[in-house]
C-alpha cells in the first residue's frame, strides 16, 4: 500500500492547518492510501510523526507557511507547498504523487 505522511502548519494555527490536514487525509483515503498528517497548530503538535511512520512513508507532503523541522525527511520523496495549496489544489498535489513526480529531499 502507498503510504503518505504530511505536516501542516500555519502562523495562527487556528483554522488552515486543520483544513489542510483534513484535505490531505481525505484525498489519500479516496485513493486507498495509508495516511498520517501531523498538525503544528495552536494546540501544539498533534498526531506527531514517529520514526516508524517516516520510515514506512512513500511520500511526504509539507503544507506549511511556517518553518517545519525537515531533517527528519532526508532521503524521502517530498513535496513542499503553501498551506492554502493543500486546500485549494489538493488534487494537483496528489496527481504529482500518483505519477511519482516528487524529488528526493
Amino acid at each position: 500500500m502507498t503510504n503518505i505522511i504530511g505536516v501542516c502548519a500555519c502562523p495562527a494555527g487556528i483554522a488552515h492547518t486543520y483544513m489542510a490536514a483534513e484535505s490531505i487525509e481525505n484525498l489519500a483515503k479516496q485513493r486507498g492510501y495509508g495516511v498520517k498528517v501531523e498538525t503544528n497548530g495552536s494546540a501544539g503538535v498533534e498526531n506527531r510523526l514517529e520514526e516508524a511512520d517516516i520510515e514506512k512513508a512513500d511520500y511526504v507532503i509539507i503544507a506549511a507557511d511556517t518553518k517545519v523541522e525537515m531533517e527528519r525527511f532526508r532521503g524521502k520523496k517530498v513535496i513542499e507547498v503553501a498551506v492554502s495549496d493543500a486546500i485549494r489544489k489538493g488534487e494537483e498535489i496528489f496527481k504529482k504523487i500518483d505519477s511519482n513526480e516528487l524529488e528526493i529531499y
Partner: protein, 148 residues
C-alpha cells in the same frame, strides 16, 4: 463557556465587502462582551489577513485572530444574502470568525475549533450550512462547538 451562541449566528444579512464584514463582527463581539478592545481586535484580524488570505476557495472566509483583546474563545457565523469578494475569491457567502485569547486558552477549546475547521472542508457540511433556515437549526449544525 459557550463558544457559539445564538447571538453569534446571523443568517441572510446584507454586507457589501470584507471591511464591512470584519467591522460587523467586531461590533458583535464588543456588544456581547467577548472582546475588550475593538481597535486591537481589528489590528490583529487585519495583520492575519495580510499574512495570507483567510478565504480558501471554498466559498467561506475565516477571518481569525489570536488576540489579547479576546476574552473568551468565540465563533461567529454569518451567512450573506449576496456573495462578496474576499481577496482573490469572489464567491464568499459564509463567514466564520474564529477568535481566541492570546494566553491561557483551554486546549479543549482549541480542539473544538480545529474540528470545526476540519468539517468546513466537507462539501456536504457546507451545503447544509448554506441551506439551513433558522438560527436554531444552524446552532444544531454547529453544536459540536459547545460540547465541553
Amino acid at each position: 463557556m459557550e463558544i457559539i451562541r445564538e447571538e453569534f449566528i446571523k443568517l441572510d444579512i446584507n454586507l457589501e465587502n470584507k471591511k464591512e464584514v470584519i467591522d460587523y463582527i467586531a461590533n458583535l463581539l464588543i456588544n456581547s462582551n467577548r472582546v475588550r478592545d475593538k481597535g486591537l481586535l481589528l489590528k490583529d484580524v487585519y495583520l492575519r489577513e495580510e499574512e495570507a488570505s483567510t478565504s480558501m476557495g471554498l466559498g467561506i472566509a475565516i477571518p481569525h485572530a489570536k488576540s489579547l483583546s479576546v476574552k473568551e474563545p468565540t465563533v461567529v457565523f454569518l451567512r450573506l444574502n449576496e456573495s462578496i469578494k474576499w481577496n482573490e475569491d469572489k464567491d464568499i457567502k459564509m463567514i466564520f470568525g474564529i477568535f481566541v485569547p492570546a494566553e491561557n486558552v483551554d486546549n479543549q477549546h482549541l480542539k473544538i475549533l480545529s474540528s470545526l475547521s476540519r468539517k468546513l472542508t466537507d462539501e456536504q457540511y457546507r451545503e447544509a450550512l448554506l441551506k439551513v433556515k433558522s438560527i436554531k437549526d444552524s446552532e444544531r449544525l454547529l453544536q459540536g462547538l459547545n460540547a465541553s
